[in-house]
Amino acid sequence: MNWIEPNIIDVNPLQQLNEQGILTGETSISDEEKLEIYKWMVKARRFDELAVKFQRQGRIGTYAPLIGQEAAQVGSAFALEKKDWIFPSYREAGACFVRGTKPSSFFKYAMGHLHGGILKEERIFPVQIIIGAQTLHAAGSAWADQYKTNGAVSVAYVGDGATSQGDFHEALNFASVFQLPVIYFVQNNQWAISVPYHKQTNSQSIAQKALAYGMTGVQVDGNDAVAVYETMKQARSLAREGKPVLIEALTHRMGPHTTSDDPSKYRSREADEAWDKKDPIFRYRKWLEGLQLWSEEEEQDLNASIEEELKQAFNEAAETTTASLGEALGHVYEKPTNRLKEQILEWEGSGESK
């Protein structure tokens, strides 16, 4: 009998740029692109630090930090084309920035503005709250592109927790059966709120789950922007040919799940320190410096310009006029039902009497 045992599955994460900033593989990234990727990662991290600070100061609402996942997000989004669509969770500000989202949009989203985080022009689906639900939307979107032969791909961004959801498995199955131009990009950041990877699944890797669905899977060092970018490029061409791909980017959520939880309750400082040494930005900067593409002076200039941009973005969000409940109620259906019209009038009446 040919038993299929988990230990016959061998997964080695792909790495191109090691923890010391030394390129161990080959890359097609041009010098100009190398710098762009770096700048996006630094911007994502600074945005993240500011968002956490603003939440602590009560200036924005709950925020889900992405610190540690900059290479996974920027590297993957940077490999896409403009016509592609992405389906993010709530932790994907970095990927969204690369697609053209203004930081002010994300501040507005966190402030609870009606028009916050609406990213249609950037071909980004509204941020998903229900874990894994967007995997199916991405499959449907890819289906539409396949139907219209647009040559675009759709990418669903999920975390390791989402791989326990039924929707994730139904999505992989559909993607493979219908040969959809879709990529599932899992950021395995080791934690689903407080539950570690080994309690989320007994699989050795998430990448291997692709095998069961008859599709291609790959595990990549998610803190290595070069490897993530190259993997995503290849996945994109496979997906375009109707070969969907599951990518597992091994990374680490350095911060809490959201500004509402305290990681010291469920994880050790020692384990975190091991991951800190794999910092995606540190190694990338060392690489650029080794290539004579980056200097301390340029670093300071970059930080100053990002600081200024984010300050302006926050001010823009803070000064945005609040939409009314009446306006919001107008968006339940294309045309409000009679019942809703009545309720909008009731709301207007209550406004007058205040």
């Binding site: 669509w85 009606l114 028009h115 609406i118 249609k120 689906f125 509204p126 229900i130 639900a133 995997t135 199916l136 939307h137 991405a138 499959a139 449907g140 979107s141 890819a142 289906w143 539409a144 592109d145 139907y147 219209k148 759709s154 039924g166 929707d167 139904e170 999505a171 199955n173 559909f174 059966v177 219908f178 939409a323 306006e327 919001a328 107008g330 968006h331 339940v332 259906y333 294309e334 039902t337 009679n338 019942r339």
Partner: protein
């Protein structure tokens, strides 16, 4: 005009809509070669091919979830859930995804899709095939809910549902799929979603029903008319949006109302109708609004289902009860 039963009318409409717009495609379990377990999609795969008539793997959440993605990206998916009792498996994708996307994106995204599902009892199905779950969706803002009771209404409303810019749940009474035939206009036409049909005018009591329950209600009306009652019969046709105007106008005229539905009583659509009448026509009614409904249990096994479903006798009894309770 051609004589059709409801299943034929639905099949005819799907074909007509797919011919009209190549972005319309249908997906679901066994809808292709098998033509659907009730033959609603019979022959469509021969006409339109597997690209537009998609037999999917057995996964309700994926059927609806992929339809959401397609709809947002410019296709017009008509998804089938084989039996309404199986729709719980896709509840997140309907209530939290399809229904909410317009609202939570401030109108930037919307999912113009149709979900068709057979429901209703009286046909001795196994467990979880017959449940009437319309109230769940009435409670999920952002989706429309249609429940026709005649072949012609099914045709006009299905065309309207496919043209609608919002997600629509289209519930088909299994019991009435082949129960009656009538002349149906072949030319494409639509019936406005949210417009009830006053089936019969009368002055004593308003009877409100929809979908599968219309069959017994009509029988009861006939019996009551023979007993000298003048009944105004309203077929709601659409649960969301609800045609409050027709309900209120009728009740103001008759001053009495009985609602008949197959779903369980508690927090059902009948409770909503009763509340509307209370809010908007209290001083025009002379008796409490009564409901004839299924019992507050899961849908029962076949041997007792006929006692569970609102019967002509129960409807007649409640109408007489309202008459006795009347103040005038």
């Amino acid at each position: 005009m051609t004589e059709m039963n409801m299943i034929e009318a639905i099949n005819f409409t799907l074909k007509q809509e797919m011919e009209k717009d190549e972005n319309v495609l249908i997906l679901g379990e066994d809808i292709g070669r098998n033509g659907g377990v009730f033959r609603a999609t019979d022959g469509l795969v021969d006409t339109f091919g597997e690209r537009r008539v998609v037999d999917t793997p057995l996964a309700e959440s994926a059927i609806i979830g992929t339809a959401v993605g397609m709809a947002v990206r410019g296709l017009k998916p008509v998804a089938e859930i084989q039996f309404l009792g199986f729709i719980y498996e896709s509840m997140d994708q309907i209530a939290a995804q399809a229904a909410r996307i317009r609202f939570r994106s401030a109108g930037n995204y919307h999912a113009p899709m149709v979900i068709r599902a057979p429901y209703s009892g009286g046909v001795k199905t196994p467990e979880l095939h017959s449940d009437s779950l319309e109230a769940l969706f009435m409670h999920s803002a952002g989706i429309k809910v249609i429940m026709p009771s005649t072949p012609s209404d099914a045709k006009g409303l299905l065309s309207a549902a496919i043209a609608d810019p919002d997600p629509v749940l289209f519930l088909e009474p299994m019991k009435l799929y082949r129960a009656l035939r009538e002349n149906v206009e072949e030319e494409r036409f639509t019936i406005e979603i949210g417009e009830a049909n006053v089936v019969m005018e009368g002055s004593d009591i308003t009877l409100i029903s929809w979908g599968a329950a219309m069959a017994e209600t009509k029988k009861a009306v006939q019996m009551l008319e023979e007993n000298g009652y003048s009944i105004e019969l309203i077929d709601l046709r659409t649960i969301v949006p609800l045609d409050e105007e027709t309900i209120i106008d009728s009740v103001m005229k008759t001053s009495r109302c009985v609602v008949v539905h197959e779903a369980v009583k508690s927090a059902g659509v009948g409770a909503e109708i009763s509340a509307i009448i209370n809010e908007k026509a209290l001083f025009y009614i002379s008796a409490p609004v009564l409901r004839v409904t299924g019992y507050d249990s899961p849908y029962p096994v076949a041997t007792v289902e006929n006692e569970w479903i609102p019967s002509m006798d129960r409807i007649v009894r409640e109408v007489k009860h309202v008459w006795e309770l009347s103040l005038d």
